[in-house]
């Protein structure tokens, strides 16, 4: 049988939170005011059943064409600590978007979620899953940073105007200065455009000062669709990098046929 790293000696196991009950799980609703944090978290689990080394988050919005950001907190009511910070998405209603976060959550933990959205009272079905063993081989769990995402200012990522010129697009700054050393990146691509062009799209990520960018991700291909307001999905995994605190990170997206706008959000693992 295959050899796994030390994090992976245990067999993998995925445990829904909870495993039984309503399949719809928990609907979390944003504040009645747009771009405003909800006053409190909504409980997802009063006590997690198993120890986990990862949290798989799925989000299915109840409304199309709305940006949303989901936070997952651990801890007693009113004292939640973020373990997933502002996972951003938008697109067709009910289209599930995913994030896997390598974070240790002891059995017996209370899990809760909170949604901020570009339209008030937006509902998002939040699916959480505990993963017993590391899935994608990250060396250690860590703290996640949402980069260039400030939902309370209406920023659910950075709008990148696509270019149809091969690899000559202008870089768009996503984060001016990383708040911490980042050792892995993941990205989400989404849009609130109600009629995005049907075309192939290609994301590149670079670090460095303006006009001196160095590509670190080349290239992630995905699609934009005329059927609903969707681009992506993006891949769910984390990609290793070594980006020191203070580094500028930029992105560009190229389309195969049409200039369009794609919202790009990064999360870094510190």
């Amino acid at each position: 049988m295959a050899e796994w790293g030390s994090l992976l000696y245990w067999p993998g196991h995925l445990e829904g939170v909870p495993t039984t009950g309503n399949a719809e799980q928990t609907v979390v609703t944003s504040s009645a005011s747009a771009n405003t944090r909800a006053a409190s978290y909504t409980q997802l689990s009063s006590s997690t059943a198993v120890y986990s080394q990862g949290l798989l988050l799925g989000c299915a919005p109840g409304t199309s064409n709305v940006h949303y950001a989901v936070e997952i907190g651990v801890g007693a009511a009113g004292s939640e600590v973020n373990v997933i910070q502002d996972f951003c998405g938008a697109g067709n209603s009910r289209q599930t978007q995913w994030m896997y976060m390598p974070v240790i959550i002891p059995a017996g933990s209370r899990l809760a979620g909170r949604v901020t959205a570009s339209s008030g009272s937006t509902s998002v079905v939040v699916y959480t899953h505990l993963v017993d063993a590391g899935v994608m081989g990250l060396p250690a769990p860590g703290r996640m940073y949402a980069l260039g995402v400030t939902p309370t200012s209406g920023v659910y990522g950075t709008d990148v105007t696509t270019s149809v010129t091969s690899h000559n697009a202008t870089w768009t700054q996503v984060v001016a200065s990383c708040p911490a050393d980042i050792r892995a990146l993941t990205f989400q691509m989404h849009t609130t455009n109600t009629a995005p062009a049907s075309q192939g799209l290609q994301l590149q990520v670079a670090v460095g000062a303006a006009a001196s960018e160095v590509v670190i991700v080349d290239s992630v291909n995905f699609t934009g669709g005329g059927g609903g307001d969707q681009v992506g999905n993006g891949p769910t995994g984390w990609f290793p990098c070594q980006v020191p605190a203070g580094t500028r990170v930029a992105a560009r997206v190229e389309g195969s046929s049409t200039a369009d706008v794609v919202t790009v959000a990064f999360h870094g693992l510190g």
Binding site: G16, T223, Q230
Partner: protein, 276 residues
């Protein structure tokens, strides 16, 4: 900075095989005859550098279709392909919904990599992008030999049809188990799952949870949504769970659903096993 192991020292992590092309996809078309494999289409004719695995992103420009795709490799650069990943599903999502599938199999430099697929409707395209992965998290596990499908149906290019509300009972796991494999036939070291909507063109808004079991439960309450905007079930992330399944293991699934409509409560499921 956190230290990555030696296997991460390349720094480079993911690269499209030919980044000079914008929107760089390869169009792979199924046979004109429904549920019949089409011809191989090259994703790369000469892999420039050995990779530890590869990601495929893929979407169709059609809605309401089910597709099963094979990915083949000829390490000598010829066209005698060995299928390294079989019946990879794209199941009737809204057109252009991108699915991802990670194939954790090393491919040597100089290889030719190609794909073909069958579809529930003839002459349907899948648009693929091939991303070699040279290092990093995606490369675990790095040394599988083949990805095999359990529960795929070549008769309709779908998966095993699972009822989430047997007898019209919502939100309750059925006692009925659907068999994905009575006997896996290989030693399996990791499992991945894809779901779809059986070409349901107007599913109700709902949620599903499923359990995949062998001698023990592997996925216990894996949830996803269905939606009325397009024929949308899921999709699920491409995520391999390490799991030791000796050859001869059975693999079954049961499920629950928040919807009870006789059509809308059904979904497709295919499990994939990584063969050591």
């Amino acid at each position: 900075m956190a230290e990555w192991g030696a296997e991460y020292s390349h720094g480079g992590l993911l690269q499209n095989i030919d980044p000079s092309q914008v929107g760089n996809f390869k169009q792979v078309t199924s046979s004109a005859t429904a549920n019949t494999l089409g011809s191989w289409v090259d994703l790369t004719t000469n892999l420039a550098r050995s990779c530890q695995g590869f990601l495929v992103s893929y979407a169709s420009s059609s809605s309401n279709v089910s597709c099963l795709m094979d990915i083949g490799v000829d390490t000598s650069g010829g066209t005698s392909y060995t299928v390294v990943a079989e019946r990879v599903a794209w199941f009737g999502h809204q057109l252009r919904t991108t699915e991802w599938f990670y194939v954790p199999i090393a491919v040597p430099a100089g290889s030719r990599v190609a794909a073909r697929h069958q579809c529930s409707t003839g002459s349907t395209d899948l648009r693929l992008c091939f991303h070699p992965v040279y290092a990093g998290p995606w490369s675990r596990p790095a040394v599988g030999s083949k990805v095999v499908a359990f529960g795929a149906s070549t008769a309709d290019s779908g998966g095993t049809q699972v009822d989430g509300a047997v007898g019209g009972v919502a939100n309750t796991y059925s006692g009925t188990q659907w068999t994905l494999s009575a006997s896996t036939g290989y030693d399996i070291c990791a499992v991945c799952v894809k779901v779809g909507g059986i070409v349901n063109t107007a599913p109700a808004n709902g949620s599903f949870a499923f359990r995949i079991s062998s001698s023990q439960v592997i996925h216990n309450g894996f949830r996803f949504a269905s939606g009325s905007t397009g024929d949308n079930y899921g999709p699920l992330p491409s995520m391999w769970l390490p799991m030791t399944l000796p050859a001869g293991s059975a693999l079954t699934v049961n499920a629950m659903s928040s919807v009870i409509d006789a059509t809308d409560r059904l979904f497709d499921l295919v499990a994939y096993g990584l063969v050591k």
